[in-house]
Subunit: 233 residues, 2 copies
DNA sequence: AAATTCAATATGTAGCTACATAATAATGTC
DNA sequence: GACATTATTATGTAGCTACATATTGAATTT
């Protein structure tokens, strides 16, 4: 867009955002209709619409058909995070990637895993424990459960050389994702695999995916001490 | 849109996504031009454009003017997180919110804080340590630095009753945000304030904001043991 | 008065045109 | 051949029209 021509949708968005932070439109208030704002700012309704969509995505406003647009009463900081494939993450840091399969079995899901998927009863799933290495040092320890009903082909994959992480991300689309982060003290077995002192604090990434209503996989990825996650710019 | 009429942009997006996961368009491949895809799928270029924008935002493809669209070679899991104002977070869990100011001073920024902002030299900033309580139990301990050049009015705010967290979020817009999560062992002073055994693992949220190139504030928020962050659906 | 129906309304979506912009490819000049 | 200039091309943006859809609120019926 040209600077001195009409307003671009980003400019409109910034103007509205400024007004919200100005208290011109206070938290909980109803904003003017798109069309009125468009007329006031001298642009088309589509432009205001685009701006509003962005603000809505950013969590600043809430829109409802007919109901109009209102400023969210409790502002939140919304940020995006990228969780790359572990191999790529290691390689992008300029380190050598390594992978070790620790365990591969078929087991009945314990209650904790059923809870993650929201399953009412226990079923048999494939369980894979593996260690990702960076320059031959432990990097991430993963404990994964895979639903063999929705992914029977995983049984054919050679998991001694290829990580289930990578195979699933590349071959299994998901429609729903739950990601959560928390801290824990590395206990006996985990501390041993990560080669770290007992009770050292580690960041855990828990990732569960479904396709439709069917579970695909859930992983608990325990990162090495000092690991840090940062938002995408 | 009507089901049996033309394709909606979400349908187009899903179709393209399916093809990417199908390996019809493999990682690194160049996708057809928007216009060609539009013709093939029987919709307008704008519709394909919208779909592509979404896929680009989701991190699945990369677009460049003239260069066209290509499938990102290393797929990532992208998720969004909301960091609410602490008071709201506590209240939404149905607990009573409490707040205690621990320290309020003006100090020269140590190297660690300069690094967070990318400052070349040390400057004087306001430092605020405070404890957020949930049902009278420690919930989050924050150690905050505020640039008094860009926020002189913070000096007038009574921080014994109102948290700087809330005041800043409500009154200070930011143009750039850096969020990072990591785990640490609660040390002496932190463990004491959080009323938790020494060395227990805690999740730390570090949040730094700028307006333009100017620093606004940076916080290290140490959460209580067991705290968990989860992605928005 | 309660329930149902229906009209009004604000946002959501699709398609079209026109032009802007950035990156590449082709061309011309020295 | 190296460099600068220009044309080409694919995506990005803005505006318009038309219609879809959800929700509110008024009108109507029971």
């Amino acid at each position: 867009m040209t600077i001195d021509s009409r307003l671009s949708w980003t400019q409109v968005r910034d103007e509205i955002r400024a007004r919200i932070l100005n208290r011109t439109y206070a938290p909980g208030d109803k904003l003017p209709r798109d069309e009125d704002l468009a007329q006031e700012l001298g642009c088309a309704r589509t432009t205001v619409h685009r701006a509003m969509q962005d603000l809505s995505l950013a969590g600043l406003v809430e829109r409802k058909r007919k109901g109009g647009t209102r400023v969210k009463s409790d502002p939140v900081t919304r940020a995006t995070f990228d969780i790359p494939i572990t191999r790529r993450e290691v390689e992008q840091r300029g380190s050598k990637y390594g992978y070790q399969l620790i365990q591969r079995s078929v087991e009945l899901t314990p209650p904790a895993i059923m809870a993650r998927f929201g399953l009412p009863t226990a079923i048999k799933m494939m369980r894979v424990k593996a260690l990702h290495l960076s320059d031959n040092r432990p990097f991430i320890l993963e404990d994964r459960w895979i639903d063999i009903r929705s992914n029977p082909d995983i049984l054919e994959v050679d998991l001694t050389t290829q990580s289930a992480n990578e195979w699933l991300v590349l071959h299994k689309p998901y429609s729903r994702l739950d990601l959560r982060f928390y801290a824990m003290n590395a206990t006996g077995e985990i501390a041993k695999h990560l080669d770290t002192p007992d009770t050292s604090a580690v960041l855990v990434i828990e990732r569960t995916t479904w396709i439709g209503a069917d579970p695909i996989t859930t992983v608990q990825a325990v990162t090495m001490p000092g690991y840090q996650l940062s938002s995408v710019s």
